[in-house]
Amino acid sequence: MAEVKTKGEVIFNRAAIVAVLIALVIMLTPIFWIGATAFKPRNLATTAPPTVFFEPTLSPFAKLFTKRSQLREPVDEATYAAAPWWEQLIYDGGESVVRNKKTGEATSSGYGNRYMNSLIVSIISTFLAVSMGTITAYGFSRFRVPGEQDWLFFILSTRMLPPIVVAIPMFLMYRAVGLYDTHVGLIILYTAFNLSFAVWIMKGFIDEIPREYEEAALVDGYTRLQAFRKIVLPEALTGIAATAVFCFITAWNEYAFALMMTSRNAQTAPPYIPSQVGSGLSDWTVIASGAFLFLLPVAIFTFLLRNHLLRGMSFGAIRK
């Protein structure tokens, strides 16, 4: 980080802050729009011109968690008054909750379950991809590996084939070995997707860590594994944090394979959210509320890791 000293630099620094703020506004406007739509009544989601100010409602969230069907006319007042608050919100939106005839229970949309599946699958696969990626990157960075470049390119190439094409054989393979519609199946899938990325990014970071540190540690009586754990890993934290964020995002939002490889049991949330286009009007508010809730875990995860992300790569001091 450059130290701010002269007057010119102070002005330059302020200009930079202004530029960052402008960028922030541009980058965040679409996100803000999604967030705002998540709290809009359905009839304000698409208006010409767009509606910027409105009274927020939780109706989209009530709809998000239930299975509903379009009403052709408003319900009678007695039914409305007898309904719980969240059902009233759904009535407000011109829909009714699909109820089980025998038990009278409202049918869940499954969003909650899907959300949980997303969490399980993304967290575990991110952990696996990052840890495997880190040690593999270390191995490639520090040891002689016969055909090193070829192996690295092979790892990279696993991400080059358009995924659409392997979808059918993958589907058949998963069925044959019983991984179809299981959490384990998706975890393996996303770990494999993210591994090539994790190896490459982590190798980039570990290459930057001066090996003098490890050599010194080895001289001090550390074993290689101890040196890796106590010297290299702390130094590589920025890289690990960045890789974890990227891997988590990829797994969290993966759509095509989640749709194809799972059905009732293990399906994650991304395929569900756009499906709300279904009924007569596309219900933008439900899509927005689904997307909004779905953004929270990644945003929180990233925010928690922010200090590691910003610490930069190693000490970077020994570059010659």
Binding site: I31, P162, G316
Partner: protein, 300 residues
């Protein structure tokens, strides 16, 4: 490999105390490679085989071996070449845009700024959204009647997606918006690694800001930036979700969109596998060039 850093020789003293370097290396590398091979081998062989057949996965008819038939038909189809041209243009626009915006933001953020952690997190939000949701909402944002883009920018009824020439740019803008943060984050990590003493030395030499940037900053950030570019290029080649939702103009028919139609709407499974292998060869060739540059950048 042209790495400046000297490889550590197997250290006998360290080895004597714990696992040998050789076993550590094998333990660290072999599981990953084995896993990737096992995971990919069946799908790859399967799709390679179907590429030479007339197989259709929607029917139960057996696959007939037709040799290079699919490849011949594809390479003679002018539409496929158009898909490649469109994709090339798209990849160049969006990756260039991401590098400029992402690296630019990183340069701006690489200084003492209040609430830097929060600002960085907020700037990363676009890439945290699911591409399908991004496509749906940007379609709404671009809409001449309901969209906020024309509304806020005062563009009236400007037709972003209906204009065949503009549509590809509109799709690329969304990609730039979504993935510049990726380049930004990696660049930030790279920038913070540039040793301060180099800047101090440059200052003493009264070097101008351009000199400092091109001679110190850029070369040192280049390796990690290059990795970002490699991944963004590979991903841009595969762009599907948001592009397909935003526009299906013939002028925005990217390879992945054509591939999807071929594989899952028309069920020309064999043909689509052949197409995918052609794409794979192109991507491998391009990535190879990038990796050469990456190694060169590292060697400096």
């Amino acid at each position: 490999m042209a790495d400046v850093m000297t490889r550590l020789e197997p250290d006998t003293r360290a080895a004597a105390r714990g696992l040998s370097d050789l076993s550590i290396r094998n333990l660290f590398i072999i599981p990953t490679i084995a896993f990737l091979i096992i995971f990919n081998v069946f799908p790859l062989i399967y799709s390679l085989y179907t590429a030479f057949t007339d197989y259709r996965a929607s029917t139960s008819a057996p696959a007939n071996w037709i040799g290079l038939g699919n490849f011949r038909e594809l390479l003679n189809d002018p539409n496929i070449w158009r898909n490649f041209t469109i994709t090339a243009k798209y990849v160049v626009i969006s990756v260039t845009g991401q590098v400029f915006v992402g690296f630019g933001l990183a340069m701006l953020l690489n200084r003492p700024i209040p609430l830097k952690g929060l600002i960085t997190t907020l700037l990363l939000l676009p890439m945290m959204l699911s591409p399908a949701v991004v496509g749906l909402f940007w379609k709404l944002l671009y809409d001449p009647s309901f969209g906020i883009i024309n509304f806020f920018l005062g563009l009236g009824k400007f037709e972003w997606l209906a204009d065949p020439q503009m549509a590809l740019w509109a799709v690329a803008i969304v990609d730039i918006w979504m993935w510049s943060p990726f380049v930004m984050l990696l660049s930030l990590a790279g920038l913070s690694a540039v040793p301060k003493h180099l800047y101090e030395a440059a200052e003493i030499d009264r070097a101008g800001p351009f000199y400092t940037f091109f001679r110190i900053t850029l070369p040192l950030v280049a390796p990690i930036l290059m990795i970002a570019i490699i991944f963004r290029t590979m991903e841009a080649f595969k762009t599907f979700d948001h592009a397909y939702i935003l526009s299906t103009q013939p002028t925005t028919e990217l390879i992945a969109i054509r591939l999807y139609k071929m594989a899952f709407l028309e069920w020309q499974t064999g043909m689509s596998s052949a197409f995918a292998y052609i794409v794979l060869i192109v991507v491998v060739a391009i990535t190879n060039i990038y990796v050469k540059y990456l190694n060169k950048a590292k060697a400096r």
